[in-house]
Symmetry: C2
Subunit: 597 residues, 2 copies
């Protein structure tokens, strides 16, 4: 049976030593998040993840969700209790403003908890995850009346939320959507249409489900300019806040998926369902975009969570499984064979995953912190810089953490040999579950296009210039530091590749946009490699400082320094190949006629 | 519903134009394989794969195998009919000598058919596949009496075969095996022990199952030097060849696996089962090794097969699915959106898989041809050179074709967006099925160790020197040819990286074997990149020649030339990163104490 232990210690190190979380206590909510509060929050969250959610993971995969004839959906045994524990622990509203029942704590802490929950039980974590996403949309775009009507109940966990975008014929290209909204004359609308791939669309965990739905108001312009956002509760809400009649929305079927079986992925039928406009008419896509950054960050975190749990179980197996002898002489001569962790190819695999996880965690927490600054700072310039970073880094965190998170789950599974392929060992589930994160909330190819087509050129490339400058300054600042040389040297090489790629696009993509498209995915990964390399630079700096002031931490810090050097020597240099591919341009990629395929 | 079309045309082009298959008609069996026979064989095999086996693939995944209380196992609906069609078509004995009922045709043709069968239905194809493996072991190591007793029935398909190696505590490290063989005094042995992961160990497709089992004869030396190979039929065979009493071997349970659900993966219990020695006492591992090359080649082919079928279905979807508009203006202005094949990132994905598949196919057919030459040539020097090649290239074909075959199935699945994650679309099955090929028949890390620890240094590096020399000669021979420049230039760069890596190991791995272990997987992939680059060089040469003599083929040949350039520009340059990693050595890989994990 696989197990999970939330990485509390590493998260605290990143927050406190690497990111200087406490330097931001001028921001609303941060002053409540003193170091001991942060530690308590993470420890409590870890306890929930490790002891309540993780033990339900395998059963969720095995049982899956079932739709009954009446359209109701049952979730796997224990899931409701797990969900209740999450809700009762106050986790749903951790960073929701206190006026709506939340705790108003920084989103950064919520992101750390999201990693723990995703690592422990991705499918279960999606129910509150979608609720948090829906709350975020309502917080930004909902009227005060809507916020008061929905948020406290959602924070409490009594009601969950969903996001309804996709239709059978339209996924990425939302301009094609057909779901219709007809005004009822009383301020409400009647929605009709079919939505697919609706996570947590129907289930037995909560009294009510608050669907956020995009639809086209009768007579609205075609394409993306005619899309509006609506809130459609499963049960209508009476004046006194009690639940009223059942609305005209129902689950038509649930999907048979490769993974996340514990989450009900529904086809949702809207048959004249009553809904209310959220935000402005025909501005629904903008409403979605605002919350998309945080949602995409959350999916990147899911990739990281699966990578971490797969790593932990691979380590446990590699220490336990006896097979063969070390190339440098028996390490366990009293046993029939050595544990496989002595073998360099096994080590290489484990080190690769570990070096990714720690840098990936730093990158996502750094970006989450920027989201907090962007939302909460009183200083407009600081807010803008933080929002620039958030916008630029979101597709990178989403695309790279989920692509590599999946690769890592596969690599961890490989450590188990044949046992990795047997469902009972649990590694297959991590791989199957991790797979979805590359797809939903914008497939990773779309993330790459968002990066190169929107985020990179935005405001004359301001966000990218700032990032490149920050990394360059970091390298310069540590140029004379002998202990930092193993980090700054390779980081400079990676940064040069990223600069060269950026320059290449500036010179070659405006005239031939296919050059941008053909290099987009490589650019996203090149960027991710450098961003994580920068994180390793900052982790190394923090580790060296910590060693100097705390001898007791020296051993643990040395482990980080070795892991960081592994990243610098063996992982970051992949930037060279990514750059070569980008510079190859689109010619051979696009040369063939469609019929030649 | 996914579909499959066996790549007959490309296989014929590789055999005839690239590899000069017909130049070998001095070898036994080859003279029977005239061009029209080859075309007929491949066309018939394709028909079986496309119309009989492929339609059973999804149902096999959905139904899986079931073990009943009496220990019998039922296979999915239609599987027996599919198996019978395979057997009745004479495919089982395609390259088995005629004296045992086979057709004695080249193994190269069998390899081509293996690709078709694996692409159409991997799980079903494993039943005959294991039978062919068991026949290969009996052909090389069995006594004449054993061959006469078993082979004709197996060729006929009336009996299937299995390979029993793994035990719960021993996979890679077979020296640990515990299954005991006690002499009965009549030339037979009583076998007792438990074997796991036995593919096709029990099923309802054939009258009898011939298990090949490795076990330790009572009193034999410990470790790998005390392992013997036995043949253990499910039903004992009477003097007259009819089936006798049930032997003491039974299926204890079947595994719940990530994929290949249609194949019964059994725990096999041997309770004093009657068996007979195959080959010499205590030489069982050698007996296994001889057949391992072909078995590993077959698994590499499975990786290729999954990559091909996933590609075909991704292409069909990409032509059909309308979403978004081309970056260079609408390509289907009459439709609501363009088909997604117009998008460069989709193209990049499809071209990457395609460029791999064609070169991978050439590499595996080239290696299969070497196996034929190694077994059939009357010329000792030619035999040796062919066996050198086969030994060296086997871990590369197995490791690289299955690692990348899996990656390609994942990439093809990604083209489907959310639909790729839904089981009904079939892409998930390709991914789940392809995953096993990286694990069984020696996990890919073991392939890498086999390459670097055994195959590379063997005979003073003779095989590797020959390969490097051959590629260098090819480049030199085409140095002046303008049309070949896009191929020879990048190939030289890749070859230089491979030479540098080889040299680095010679200088750094003997004194520190961990340096070899830490670089083994990167070396295997570096080698694979160059070997496939060489294949593209040869394909390009053949395509240019074909164009010159056959104007009707020009368009098709131009497609190959573009695809080859794509490989050279975008895929082969990965050698640089692989080399960097190798040269990083083992220091950071091995530096951490086990407790630090």
């Amino acid at each position: 049976m696989p197990s999970y232990r939330a990485p509390v210690e590493d998260t605290l190190f990143i927050l406190n030593d690497v990111l200087g979380f406490h330097h931001h206590d001028n921001l609303p909510g941060f002053s409540d998040a003193s170091p001991d509060v942060v530690e308590a929050v993470l420890s409590e969250g870890a306890k929930l993840a490790d002891t309540v959610l993780a033990p339900l993971n395998a059963i969720g995969d095995k049982e899956g969700c079932k739709r009954l004839h009446d359209g109701s959906v049952t979730t796997p045994k224990g899931f409701k209790a797990g969900y209740d524990a999450f809700a009762q622990g106050g986790w749903m509203g951790l960073s929701v403003p206190e006026e709506y029942g939340g705790q108003g704590l920084p989103h950064t802490l919520n992101s750390a908890i999201q990693e723990f929950v995703s690592g422990a039980n991705l499918a279960l974590g999606m129910y509150p995850g979608l609720t948090q996403g829906a709350m975020a949309a309502l917080l930004v775009h909902g009227s005060e009346e809507q916020k008061q009507a929905y948020l406290p109940k959602m924070v409490e966990g009594a009601w969950t939320g969903t996001m309804n975008l996709t239709e059978p014929h339209c996924g990425t290209d939302l301009g094609l959507l057909k779901t219709k909204a007809v005004p009822n004359g009383d301020g409400s609308y009647s929605l009709t249409g079919t939505k697919i791939f609706i996570s947590a669309g129907e289930h037995d965990m909560a009294e009510n489900i608050i669907h956020l739905v995009i639809a086209r108001i009768e007579g609205a312009p075609a394409g993306t300019k005619g899309i509006s956002l609506f809130v459609v509760p499963k049960f209508l809400i009476n004046e006194d806040g009690s639940l009223g009649t059942r609305n005209g929305v129902s689950c038509g079927s649930i999907e048979h998926k490769m993974g996340i079986h514990g989450n009900s992925t529904c086809v949702m039928n809207y048959d004249g369902a009553k809904g209310w406009l959220v935000g402005q008419e025909n501005r629904g896509l903008n409403a979605m975009f605002v919350m998309m950054n945080e949602a995409r960050l959350a999916v990147g975190i899911q990739g990281l969570g699966q990578s971490e749990v797969a790593y932990q179980n691979a380590v446990a197996y590699a220490k336990d499984r006896l097979q063969g002898r070390s190339l440098t002489g028996a390490k366990a001569p009293d046993k029939a064979a050595d544990p496989i962790i002595v073998h360099p190819d096994v080590r290489r695999t484990l080190m690769t995953i570990r070096a990714f996880n720690e840098a990936g965690r730093a990158l996502m927490l750094w970006t989450a912190l920027k989201a907090d600054i962007g939302h909460r700072s009183p200083d407009a310039a600081e807010r803008q810089a933080a929002e620039d970073h958030m916008g630029l880094m979101t597709p990178v965190v989403k695309g790279v953490l989920t692509d590599k998170g999946f690769d890592n789950a596969v690599a961890a599974q490989q450590m188990f040999g044949g046992h990795g392929y047997i469902e009972e060992w649990g590694m297959s589930q991590f791989v199957r579950d991790a797979r979805i994160a590359m797809i939903y909330e914008g497939a990773n190819g779309i993330q790459a296009m968002d990066l190169i087509g929107r985020k990179l050129p935005k405001d004359g490339g301001r966000a990218m210039m700032t990032f490149l400058g920050e990394v360059q300054t970091f390298i310069k600042d540590h140029d004379e530091d002998e202990a930092m040389k193993p980090f700054t040297g390779p980081l400079q090489a990676g940064l040069n590749d990223l600069q060269a790629a950026t320059m290449w696009f500036m010179q070659n993509a405006f005239s031939k946009p296919d050059n941008a498209g053909a290099g987009a995915t490589d650019y996203m990964h090149l960027f991710g490699l450098v961003a994580m390399g920068y994180m390793w630079g900052r982790i190394a700096k923090a580790a060296i400082a910590r060693k100097a002031e705390d001898a007791g931490a020296a051993e643990r810090m040395d482990v980080k320094l070795v892991t960081g050097r592994f990243y610098m020597e063996r992982m970051l240099p992949e930037t060279a190949t990514r750059l070569t591919r980008i510079k190859a341009g689109a010619e051979t990629t696009m040369a063939l006629a469609v019929e030649a395929f």
